[in-house]
Amino acid sequence: MRDTAETVTSSLDVDGPLAPRQGFWQLLRQNRLAIIGLAIFVVFFCIALLGLGLTSGRNPTFDPAMVRLQEKLRPPFSGPNLETLRSEEVPRLGVYVFGTDDLGRDVFARMLQGAWVSLTVGFVAVGISVFIGIFMGGIAGYFGQNHTFIDTLIMRFVDIMLCFPSFFLILTVVALLPASMYNIMIVIGLTSWMGTTRFVRAEFLSLREQDFVTAARALGVSNFRIIFRHMIPNAMAPVLVSATIGIATAILTEAGLSFLGFGVPPPHATWGGILSDGKRFIFDAPWLTFAPGIAILIVVLAFNLFGEGLRDILNPKLRERY
């Protein structure tokens, strides 16, 4: 791998302003699994955005709510029976790509709509949890030694939160709140920040004793700058890994909630909801379970792979391996 290391450095020493991000992409390109993960994630992102555009509005291109009872449980790639359908009921692609469900709704259209739900739930929930996690963990870790009270308060609260089986906590909260996509995101976010808090606190506790933190202070760098410029980037590696895996978990949690009927209210399609509806027909119409199931699997796997790759790249000590 010496050659690749050489090319990395030589492509970096261009004149002009420094471009540290350039090195990041160079390294990412060499990590095949991470690239696959990233590619799937980008495709998923595009599909979800596209799906939002194509399935919403008054007259959507793909209508996930269009009921065609005479066309129910059609297998994937089967063409519609044009004689029994009105022209606006014919699927836009000419075939039911993922078949139809028990109400004759186009599963492809429903999958598109569900992709957006999964994406936003994953990102918003993890965004909330990472934000809370870094904030709480950072405070506990940085001020913990001199103000033990703050540290104790935060960490015992974390312990208390971890005592609840979080899925049932979410179920309870969701049962009490009006059913909506945003409530679900917030609830998932508010019940999954504890791991990040512990990570960040542990990182900060060890980082604040590091020589480079003392060295930065000796150069006159302010506390604020030390926390945000020197410590958080060093603490980011485990946070990013746990965040990408957290996105996967959040998508799974949302799917699980929808599966149990506590998720995003119908008729809005979600992958978990499609799965739940399809389980009754698993032998007659397996595509109803396999389409969302495999989609969840691929997306979750992609996030996990990307998370792992990200960890390797963000840790300069592990870089030498590539």
């Binding site: 420094l18 540290p20 003392t214 930065a216 202070r217 150069l219 760098v221 700058r225």
Partner: protein, 330 residues
């Protein structure tokens, strides 16, 4: 020789205590030293004698708690640094007094390129444009003798060797042309050839920039190379102070004499090395009176009860051993 108006940094009767396991560890217990413009002062002592703590407190970097500055003054250009707030201290650090640490391996932030880190050292205290900053970084790296600095700017710390990293640390310390540089055993983690290079570098930079250097070490060989004046520390106090020739050729404290006698040299080849009996006292359990008396071959009864005063041998040569002083007078 002593001209007070040239004193840049003066530490007076500094006391730094640590509360550890309900006991009070008096790490630095009344230390005074001063650094004049352009000179190299060496603070010499064994591990745990308070060298590093007294240097860290000059920059206000002693962790409090468990540390506590129990008394004394640190005057920098007549201003008491101990009275300054955190924000004012930040303006002093790096800008007027900079520090080079012992461990170049861990003193650089692993996630940033060295270019970024040197730039930060400048940016914290001075505002300038990107291209100007880059020029300054390159010049600093050239000054500290890093080959092809243009390429090295984009390197991460782990891509450099220990000696190169220490050079980068020195470049960062020099970024804002500080008046005083405190070097805390900067060559301990490096091998001997690199150590010689770094010492030469310090000497060069000093003649060029006219800065003062406070060099903390336990290595008397290094001290002999670079020191103008020397302070010998033992168990949180200054045992002896004086110019380099005075300390090396006319030591007036039993501890200094013991240290010098335990240096290996060619004349003593084949014989057993001299050693000072006993060990450095735990700062939490220091003996009363003179802290060195349990290990001292000159000790008399009063050494165990009376804290020794500084005895003046003239021309800034002071030693904290009244017994030897009496003997010298007779």
């Amino acid at each position: 020789m002593v001209k007070n108006d040239h004193i840049l940094l003066s530490v007076q009767d500094l006391k730094v205590y640590f509360h550890l396991n309900q006991r009070l560890a008096r790490a630095v217990d009344g230390v005074s030293y001063e650094i004049r413009k352009g000179e190299t002062v060496c603070l010499v002592g064994e591990s745990g004698c308070g060298k590093t703590v007294s240097a860290l407190s000059t920059l206000g970097l002693v962790p409090q708690p468990p540390g506590k500055i129990a008394g004394g003054q640190i005057l920098f250009k007549g201003q008491n640094l101990l009275e300054l707030g955190e924000e004012e201290m930040q303006k002093i650090r790096g800008n007027h007094i900079a520090m080079v640490f012992q461990e170049p391996m861990t003193s650089l932030n692993p996630v940033f390129t060295i270019g970024d880190q040197i730039q930060e050292a400048i940016m914290v205290h001075e505002k300038m444009g990107q291209s100007e900053m880059r020029e300054r970084c390159l010049r600093l790296l050239e000054d500290v003798g890093i080959p092809s600095p243009r390429e090295r700017l984009a390197d991460y710390p782990h891509q450099l060797s220990g000696g190169q990293r220490q050079r980068v640390m020195i470049a960062m310390a020099l970024a804002c042309s500080p008046e005083v540089v405190i070097a805390d055993e900067p060559t301990t983690a490096l091998d001997v050839t690199i150590q010689a290079q770094i010492l030469n570098l310090f000497g060069e930079l000093q003649t060029r920039g006219g800065m003062s250097l406070l060099y903390i070490t336990h290595d008397l060989g290094v001290v002999a190379n670079i020191a103008d004046r020397i302070y010998i520390m033992y168990a949180g106090i200054i045992a002896e102070q004086g110019s380099a020739p005075e300390i090396f050729h006319d030591p007036r404290h039993p501890y200094t004499q013991g240290l010098l006698a335990s240096l290996p040299n060619r004349a003593k080849r084949g014989t057993r090395l001299h050693s000072i009996p006993g060990a450095v006292p735990d700062p939490a359990y220091k003996p009363g009176g003179c802290p060195f008396h349990p290990r001292c071959s000159f000790a008399v009864e009063s050494c165990g009860s009376q804290f020794p005063e500084m005895c003046d041998y003239g021309e800034g040569h002071l030693s904290r051993c009244p017994v030897l002083y009496e003997m010298a007078r007779q």
